[in-house]
């Protein structure tokens, strides 16, 4: 279920290019080198032809109802989201794409590729098209179309090879211009396809947004430093999650919320009083008094859940406790003190803002049940599960590697228990049992319960990954940190944890992929995620009866596109970071 996998760099991707040889020589070397190999090749060829032909005739068979998929695109993406409010989902997508464009520019993703590689890719796509045309048991229109596209791409690939001439293996083609080209082709296809004009326009706007924000990212880089831009962008990504789901898509109506009478005063009070407290605690002169004060705040933050008071105060107390515990570590000079107080003020304002949004009623009309569904829900579950599981997982990993036996025992017990049971039991636990253990006035939403369950589950696996990183750090790092006079917390936060996290990025990406795949399990407990839409909702419409396999295959392709690309990206990242080569 959750088995992070690590891609290894295959030899062909690392080895220098061999001088190109003729096709016949290539075939003799790679397919018919020995008698046994020749037999194997022929057998495999026969098998592949049978399989591909079978697959194609399955795909193009008369009874396949592929038209169900474009017709139900809205269901796949958003399920029951009100049609009148669809602009909101487009805005959400726009926010994500703008951030993606900025990130692509600021992290300088892309680079260059060689004409050889580019031509080869074009040629192989072309050959695929020709094979489809040759083998498919399909209407002649499709076959001719596939043959035409295949031939064009094949010729284009060969043309690239010709034109490159001498500079055949030099990396001269920008990947970003290739991506731009693909985007343009998609744009043209969108306008040819028989879909609604509104959707066409929206898609075009999204594409333009992506390109514009990419260009904007280049401009930003010239004005501010790379580090600052990246830091701000990470913050924006984190904020985008609640903004997209709580504000944009939920359309809150703040009329009934006591913003002026409760929220604003408490926020201001917390900023002033908490800020003062943090200023004192981070000054380095607080000593034992500061420790005692932090302890009092922690007890208050936990104790406030037992007496009734506004949720906002409870959350702000929790945040204050976190800041109070962290203050001595980050404090010291006047500048650091100022930073802590500013960070605290921003945190209070953000918390208060989102609490207002959460308490407000949704302004969407015509809702039945949850307002998030389809791929939209799948992304929400995966991303928020990941974000929440991160701090928990790091705490568990630190606990498990700690020298304190009770913490170690508790963390180990939790990690091993969760890793020993399947996700579906944890989801059932979240869905059916968590509510019973909470005070009766707290009623959690089904989606929230699923997120909590996924986060608790994924935290245990994340903890094991992080632990691997912590254990890989040479002892000298710990000793050097101690010799510098850093406290244990400072050593962890500034020295060991950053190194540990960087060294386990590939493992974490593998886990993100399995987390994304695992979110499909919420279909079993009744949430309308992408899988459930594809399996139950679309094929059970009267107009689409009998389209179950088509719908499932479509879902497979979509899941595959995301996970495959993430795993490829992780491979590149791994190579860039030089993990395993240091």
């Amino acid at each position: 279920m959750t088995e992070p996998f690590v891609n290894e760099i295959s030899e062909s991707e690392v080895a220098p290019d061999k001088p190109s040889a003729g096709a016949i020589r290539w075939a003799r070397e790679n397919l018919f080198s020995t008698f046994f190999n020749s037999v194997l090749s022929l057998l495999m060829l026969a098998l592949i032809v049978v399989f591909v032909r079978g697959l194609l005739s399955y795909v193009f068979a008369e009874e396949r109802l592929w038209n169900v998929i474009p017709r139900n695109m809205k269901l796949y993406w958003t399920e029951a989201y009100p049609v009148a409010e669809m602009t909101r989902t487009w805005v959400s997508l726009g926010i994500v794409l703008v951030l993606a464009g900025l990130s692509l520019a600021i992290w300088k993703v892309g680079g260059k590729t060689a004409p050889r590689q580019f031509g080869r890719t074009l040629t192989s796509i072309g050959i695929t098209g020709l094979v489809v045309a040759l083998l498919a048991d399909a209407p002649s229109g499709i076959r001719v179309g596939a043959a035409a596209v295949g031939a064009v791409l094949f010729l284009a690939g060969q043309a690239v090879r010709m034109m490159a001439g001498e500079r055949f293996t030099e990396e001269t083609i920008h990947i970003r211009s290739v991506l731009l080209g693909i985007l343009l082709i998609i744009g043209v296809i969108v306008w040819i396809l028989p879909i609604e004009t509104g959707t066409k326009t929206s898609l075009t706007i999204q594409g333009v947004l992506l390109i514009v924000s990419y260009l904007l990212g280049g401009v930003v880089l010239r004005v501010v430093s790379e580090g600052l831009a990246r830091g701000v962008l990470v913050g924006l990504w984190l904020l985008s999650l609640p903004v997209v789901y709580l504000v944009v898509q939920r359309a809150p109506v703040t009329a009934g919320v006591p913003v002026m009478s409760v929220f604003l005063p408490s926020a201001v009070a917390f900023i002033v009083l908490g800020g003062g407290l943090l200023w004192w605690m981070s000054s380095g002169k607080a000593g034992e008094g500061g420790r005692l004060a932090a302890g009092v705040v922690v007890i208050a933050a936990l104790g406030c859940w037992l007496v009734s008071m506004p949720m906002l105060v409870r959350f702000l107390l929790l945040a204050l406790a976190t800041f109070a515990l962290a203050a001595p570590t980050f404090g010291g000079t006047g500048k650091a003190q100022k930073n802590i107080v500013i960070a605290w003020s921003v945190a209070v304002l953000i918390t208060a803002y989102f609490m207002v949004m959460m308490q407000a009623e949704t302004g969407l009309v015509g809702l039945q049940g949850e307002f998030i569904g389809g791929l939209n829900l799948t992304f929400l579950l995966a991303v928020s599960g990941l974000v929440i599981s991160f701090p928990i997982g790091i705490m568990l990993a630190l606990g498990r590697t700690s020298s304190m036996p009770i913490f170690r025992l508790l963390s180990t017990g939790y990690i091993e228990t969760v890793r020993g049971v399947p996700l579906i039991t944890v989801l059932f636990f979240g869905n059916l049992v968590i509510n019973r253990f909470l005070p009766r006035e707290v009623e959690l939403d089904n989606i929230v319960k699923a997120i909590v369950a996924i986060a608790l589950f994924s935290a245990a696996y994340l903890a094991e990954n992080v632990r691997g990183g912590l254990q890989s750090i040479p002892k000298g790092q710990y000793e050097a940190a101690k010799a510098m006079g850093l406290s244990t917390v400072q050593m962890t936060v500034f020295i060991t944890l950053p190194q540990a996290l960087r060294s386990v990025i590939p493992a974490i990406v593998g886990q993100v992929i399995s987390l994304f795949k695992d979110t499909s399990l919420v279909a079993i407990i009744g949430l309308a995620d992408f899988l459930r839409v594809a399996r139950d909702i679309v094929p059970n419409q009267p107009a689409s009866l009998g389209s179950l396999q088509e719908s499932l295959l479509f879902a497979m392709v979509i899941y595959w596109i995301f996970t495959f690309n993430v795993s490829r990206a992780s491979l590149r990242l791994e190579r860039k970071l030089g993990v395993g080569e240091r």
Binding site: I48, M404, T425, F429, R436, T563
Partner: protein, 508 residues
């Protein structure tokens, strides 16, 4: 950081609130108390919530008749909740065992194909791995189940590819099968003895090979020994019926032993086990120079083991119900095995059955006429097999790549053929590297069978869900699930660890 440190006198202890040891323990105990407090609050509110819903937390549903019907298993109309769960357990183990075998075979083949120098084979296996492992398993299971549903329906005539031998219909895939009959277990005793004999024969011939250097046909000898026992047993199985006396005696023993005696034996066993574990643990820490200083962790472990032994012993005396249960369970167990054996009982060992169509849409009952694979089983089995095989293939590939290149070259220099090289040099060494992650994959496969619930396969989770829908015993069922899967994980990882220690290189 900026203060200057005053020189201290030697051995001066810091005040209590600055003593790192004291602070650490204080923090740990505070967190522990906090967690216990949270736990108590949660349990109390759970009790209050249950009471408000008119439910009580009890285990009665395990003995009551649940009134549910299961889609497949050894008892489709279970007479008690416990039996229903056992049906789920057996179904889960069935699909796990067959999935492990199939996934291992497929995974090893694909893994080796990934390293093939043949371009087609190499690319095809890469496409397989990259496609399968990037699609959610649940989706794959649902898809295979849907494919199964589109197979032709079962008619009385002409619906199997080979009429009377093989059927592929939406009611099931049916093949001929052997079914154990009344004398099966008596014969099985001989088969077990044959396996042990084969092992001894193998060792003996290997010894001969090592001493003389001549081909000793170790595999042939052990196979012959095994077959000899199996064939003799086929005819002589009534003799093994004598085992019935042993089981009968044991059953009588547990039925009539006084409770106090049994309690005493169990308590001594618990304390003895703890003492044995502590002794072994201390021995493992002892270096030739003597016992090293124990860390707080070691003392904690020793204390925990000792306390657990003593607590278990006390519990055996305080709660006689446990001992009674153990006694009764063992008595029943041996009674059951007694019923399978009877000295000089004659009868058939195995019976061959072909699939039979009873009426359109219905195969004849399970256990007599062919083995039928149901749709849900097919979906789960194909799904987990293909999925796990993709991961096993990557592990096999990594393991083979990790074998030092010099080994291959040395093997080739000795004049071994490619196949011999793989079989005798590379694979045995790769096996050591492959084994631990492979065990992990088996565990994942076992856990992934829980997705059977999505296609209605009656395994533990699905049965549990039906049970709590019927009885409202949600918390209890979830506890049973977790306990069961933890047990499976523990057993599997214990096996893998044991085997890993056995095959590990002895480091010098």
């Amino acid at each position: 950081m900026t203060q200057t440190v005053e020189p201290k006198e030697a051995h001066e202890r810091p005040p209590l609130w600055r003593d790192a040891t004291v602070l650490k323990w204080a923090a740990q105990i505070a967190v522990l108390i906090g967690l216990i407090f949270v736990g108590v609050v949660a349990v109390r509110s759970a009790a209050a919530n249950l009471e408000a819903q008119g439910l009580t937390f009890s285990w009665r549903f395990l003995s009551d008749a649940p009134g549910i019907q299961l889609s497949e298993g050894f008892a489709t109309l279970p007479s008690s909740g416990l039996e229903a769960i056992l049906v789920g357990v057996v179904n889960m183990l069935r699909v796990t065992a067959s999935g492990v075998v199939a996934a291992t075979i497929l995974g090893v083949i694909v893994g080796i194909a990934r390293l093939s120098s043949n371009w087609l084979v190499n690319k095809a296996s890469t496409v397989y791995v990259e496609t399968i492992r990037n699609v959610p398993l649940l989706l794959q299971i649902v898809f295979w189940f849907a494919v199964f549903g589109s197979l032709p329906s079962l008619e009385s005539e002409g619906s199997g590819p080979i009429e009377g031998w093989l059927y592929a219909t939406n009611k099931g895939l049916s093949i001929p099968w052997f079914f154990p009959r009344e004398a099966f277990w008596q014969w099985f005793v001989f088969v077990l003895a044959g396996a042990i004999a084969a092992r001894f024969a193998f060792r003996w011939r290997i010894r001969v090979l090592e001493q003389t250097g001549h081909e000793a046909h170790a595999v042939g000898y052990s196979l012959a020994a095994f077959l000899l026992f199996a064939v003799v047993g086929w005819f002589a199985h009534p003799i093994a019926g004598a085992m019935g006396w042993v089981f009968g005696g044991l059953s009588w023993l547990f039925g009539s032993v006084p409770l106090v005696l049994m309690q005493f034996v169990l308590a001594v066993a618990a304390v003895g086990l703890a003492a044995w574990w502590i002794k072994r643990f201390l021995d493992s820490l002892r270096s030739p120079a003597g016992l090293a200083r124990l860390t707080d962790d070691d003392i904690f472990r020793i204390g925990l083991a000792g306390a657990m032994g003593v607590v278990a012993a006390i519990v055996f005396f305080l709660v006689p119900g446990i001992t009674e249960g153990i006694n009764l369970g063992l008595e029943r167990l041996f009674e059951f095995w007694d019923s399978k054996f009877d000295f000089l009982r004659t009868g058939t060992v195995l019976e061959f059955g072909r699939p039979t169509v009873e009426s359109p849409g219905r195969f004849a009952g399970f256990g007599t006429t062919g083995m039928t694979m149901s749709g849900p089983f097919f979906g789960v089995w194909v799904g987990v097999t293909l999925y796990t095989a993709a991961f096993i293939a990557e592990i096999v590939r990594g393991g083979i790549l990790a074998v030092a290149k010099g080994q291959t070259e040395a093997g080739l220099a000795l004049g071994l053929k490619r196949s011999q090289l793989l079989r005798m040099i590379v694979l045995p060494q790769a096996f050591r590297i492959i084994l631990p992650p492979m065990g992990n994959q088996y565990l994942n496969l076992a856990k992934n069978t829980s997705l059977g619930i999505a296609v209605g396969y009656a395994e533990v989770v699905a049965v549990g869900q039906t049970l709590f829908n019927q009885t409202g015993a949600t918390i209890q069922v979830i506890l049973i699930w977790m306990g069961f899967y933890l047990l499976v994980s523990l057993i599997l990882s214990a096996i893998v660890n044991w085997y890993n220690r056995r095959v590990a290189l002895v480091e010098r």
